[in-house]
């Protein structure tokens, strides 16, 4: 008759031990690998509000478009042209598997941070690009490529957030 009591006691014990707290690893609490070294940038885009996000499954990257207040207000009102003084920033990360959820991917490492500063004439907005985890300023000799990136960023529509 000892075994059933033993089994019952064990199952109770197991039930309670399931409630004990384990201190998670630092990497389970903070995604430091995706951190942006903002001191290397003209602005920290994480201080701004989100406009829209996107995914490139082929390159396994995900990006988020942030904007300063002027830009966000304009994008969320559905305006086609950003007002003078708007600044947009597209941050692109490589993706990694979410260790907490099979079926999800989350930001891995920063791949690039792009800025578009809108002047009086939005077609002449300034484009800047910082590359790699070190955020090295990229010198774009190809002005066509730069303006294509700028137009792509300016052309993104805000995600609906009721």
């Amino acid at each position: 008759m000892k075994k059933p009591i033993y089994v019952a006691a064990l199952s109770l014990l197991a039930l309670f031990s399931g409630c004990s707290h384990r201190t998670p690893a630092e990497s389970d609490l903070f995604n430091t690998s995706a951190e942006i070294e903002a001191s290397k940038l003209p602005f920290n885009p994480l201080h701004w509000k989100v406009i829209i996000s996107g995914i490139d499954p082929q390159r396994q990257t995900m990006s988020t478009l942030y904007g300063n207040d002027l830009a966000v207000q304009s994008a969320r009102a559905g305006h086609d042209v950003y007002p003078d003084g708007s600044v947009l920033s597209l941050v692109t990360w490589t993706q990694r598997e979410d260790p907490h959820w099979f079926g999800a991917r989350i930001p891995g490492k920063v791949k690039s941070v792009e800025f578009v500063t809108v002047g009086k004439d939005s077609s002449k907005s300034a484009y800047k690009r910082f590359e790699g985890p070190d955020l090295a300023p990229a010198t774009l000799s190809d002005t066509e490529a730069a303006s294509a990136r700028r137009d792509s960023i300016l052309g993104k529509r805000a995600s609906v957030m009721p």
Partner: protein
Amino acid sequence: MNFLGKLTIVAGVAFLGIQCIRPALDNPPVTAEIQAPPEVRQILRNSCYNCHSNETSLPWFDRIAPSYWLVVHDVKTARAHLNFSEIGKLPPAAQRGALFEAVNQIQLGDMPLPSYRHVHPDSTVTPEQLAVLKNYLDPFRPSPPADADQTAAVDTQFHNWTTSATPAPTVQPALNGIQFLPDYKNWRTVSTTDRGDNHTMRAILGNDIAIHAIETKQVQPWPDGAAFAKIAWERLSDDKGAVHPGRFIQVEFMIKDKTKYASTAGWGWARWRGTDLKPYGKTADFTGECVSCHLPVRDNDYVYTIPVTGQR
């Protein structure tokens, strides 16, 4: 007879007595069993079916009270949550969602229940078996480009959103009384997620208290007043294979208050669906779903999201 002897007899009689208290546990008919390849079903059968199906078969030691009572309670709870003998009557997306939740609970070590694994070590899902389940679910298989209806639905939502006054003044509180926080969209971004399991894209935003907690790395536990908003949109592919947010699906909140929300793991949970922001669920009990799904990350104060640092 000494005291210890008497106590043993009393305990023995009591032990035999409680054997007469036997809550019923029968096996209802299998009506809509899961459809999956044999290698997947074999794993589910071995590790899950004893509680999550109508084919429960208890070994002798599970039939002895008081452990029998625990087992009956566990089986009934398990079947109500996920029943592989009846799962086929759910819509395909809900079936897929249930399987992903199951695989994630296995991966996080919560299923089979640790207490069950102690007495049924054979039920433990091995890493090889987990890989079989993951391969079967294959969350990031390429999806076909969005059709015209899906694209039109986003355009309509965007048009209505940009031409109407926000926030909608008529948003009802969640059924547990939590008020909608229309300012969530102006909070900072904690992370974004690409969800292949349910074809959504998500942004997780945090209020100032949450962001400050991330900056100062004080999240064990999160401070009272910290709040998250998780926004979900459809995940739509274009004809070049790039993925964009489609229709807005829902916004969910987690609001920390260890005293006020002590009965729901220290967090207030709320969800509004659709652009008309309809409160989720039928009764205030919907929070049970939230807590049970977040239970595997209780050591992270019930937060799945891993916040991106560098908010300073």
